[in-house]
Amino acid sequence: MKNIVIGRYIPGNSFLYSMDPRAKIITLLILMIGVFLLDSIVFMLVSIGLIALLLLAGRISIKRVYLGLRPLMFLLIFTFTFQILFNDQGDELYAASTHFSLLTVGLLFVLIVLWLKTKQYIRFKLLYFLLFVVMGFAVLINIDTGLVFATPTFSVHQEGVNMALFIMLRLIIIVTLSTILTITTKPTDLNLGLERVLKPLSLVKINAEEIAMIISIALRYIPTLLDEANKIMLAQASRGVDFNEGKMKDKVMQVVSLLVPMFIISFKRSDELANAMEARSFAPGQPRTKLHELFWHRLDTLALIMALGYFTFAVLTRVLT
């Protein structure tokens, strides 16, 4: 029994849940473009404040949002570090010589091993990691005895700090906004909303209805596919496949023994499903009526207006500075 939540939808009760998915998609887009127009950290922070208010009013748990951000932690840290280390524009805020010697490199090695061995026991993994990073730098900067073979300067400049913060904040805002959308909208409603919103694409010969139908069928089959994958793995495990272990060569065989049956079953399924759909008078390209209707309310118009308001604000901050 797999315990998978499709998408990140978490049932709840607030105006965000009552909004029409079309309105949510459009306002999200407008807000995102607005955020991209901002060019100062101050306004970014203001925006984050606004988002925090939105989360509160929308009764979305901050914890869930944090969980949605967690996978991005690596990217955030990487960008931050990259900017700090390599951006040398603006005033120099701090500079120090680092010393690479056998001793310091050896100590770094010890620190790395220590971190790898002990991290599983620590609760706040991120802070623990940062602690070790700071210790590493401390070693490199302060220990200058022994045979030193390189002393690159580690410097931090104003622009580096600015860019680091800026990019990080922007990433956080974008991801948080998308997370709000997926937390408050069921995948099927999201699909419906997308279908309507993408309708104008028919001008460039893209059929939004067909795409929505494909997504809908995919959503319907995800649990079935997961269940089948599980059963296939059990069947192959019964023939001696150990999915937890194995060298590269074995892993390839494991994957093949899982994927081939999945593909074969899926091909047979598509054939039978296509027959069943046509038997029920499905004709691709023909108009269809819809069981599900979307209802636009005042709330949605209000949200749209507020999003446009924010957008104007963003444009003004750009134009007036």
């Binding site: 059963k231 059990l234 069947a235 023939r239 496949v241 079953i265």
Partner: protein, 287 residues
């Protein structure tokens, strides 16, 4: 004792985050010396969960198992010193749908897959495949064919061959005859019967077909809502009390034989267990 269940339960956490017991407090001993056991129960009664414990695909969440000397409980998976994979050579499990298992380019390669995973060399595995293909009722020409071009019944047999080639001591089959035509069904059941009688291996068959149970089984296990409610003689299983209690279908041959005995002045010395025996017994009785 090949497989022992000591008060085994298995709890799943369902999609709704609620736990539910798939099997509960199972006490069961299976010998490795040639039993032929039928395992019956409605869909959802826990049969699949039960047999997946027998080859350690699942481990108990409560209680303990002993499989050919290897002790298995809820902590076993985390231990580095106990490897569960070798158990699957001794206890072979054939799933209901061959599509979940067949994946190689040829039937021969697919049958060889199991033995090779357990250390057989290329030649040894090839030899096993050649031996086993006839046993399941297919001829050598099938070895070079693609498993995906076979009919449903042929796929079934190829998948069974793949497990038989590993030469397990206990063979578990999940609905091995579903989807087969009557000829194929009988042929395959005869194969299992032979494995059990001639090679003295224990065969466990999960089935919905009471006729199969009545004709072949020497022992019946009945699962109901996660518990083992009956473990014993197939003939006694089909007493009126049990049939009413568990809503079982009466085997057709038994039902017809009993009706004939009741309605007409005919008596069978030995209860006929299959069609042929019934027909012969009638011929004798009416002479």
């Amino acid at each position: 004792m090949a497989i022992q269940f000591e008060r085994v339960s298995h709890q799943y956490v369902g999609m709704d985050q609620k736990g539910y017991l798939a099997i509960e407090d199972i006490r069961l001993n299976i010998r490795g010396d040639g039993e032929l056991i039928a395992l019956i129960g409605e869909t959802g009664s826990g049969k699949s969960t039960l047999v997946q414990h027998m080859n350690a695909l699942l481990q108990p969440t409560q209680g303990r198992m002993n499989i050919f000397g290897i002790k298995v409980d809820n902590l076993t998976k985390k231990r580095k010193d106990v490897k569960l994979t070798p158990i699957r050579k001794q206890v072979g499990l054939v799933f209901q749908f061959p599509e979940y298992q067949l994946f190689e380019e040829t039937v021969e390669k697919d049958i060889m897959f199991g033995p090779k995973n357990f250390g057989a060399s290329e030649e040894e595995a090839k030899e096993k495949a050649r031996e086993i293909i006839n046993v399941v009722g297919l001829d050598e020409s099938y070895l070079s064919r693609s498993p995906f071009n076979l009919s449903g019944g042929e796929k079934k047999r190829a998948s069974i061959a793949g497990i038989l080639a590993m030469e397990p001591d206990v063979l578990i089959l999940d609905e091995p005859t579903s989807g087969l035509d009557p000829l194929g069904r009988n042929a395959l059941l005869e194969v299992f019967n032979r494995i059990h009688e001639e090679l003295n291996k224990t065969v466990i068959i999960i089935t919905h077909d009471m006729n199969t149970v009545y004709e072949y089984a020497k022992r019946v296990l009945v699962m109901r809502e996660g518990t083992l409610v009956y473990d014993g003689d197939p003939l006694k299983l089909f007493s009126k009390k049990n049939i009413d209690r568990w809503n079982l279908d009466k085997p057709e041959v038994l039902a017809l034989a009993q009706d004939i005995e009741n309605k007409f002045d005919i008596h069978f010395d030995k209860p006929p267990r299959n069609k042929t025996m019934l027909k012969n017994a009638l011929k004798e009785a009416l002479k």
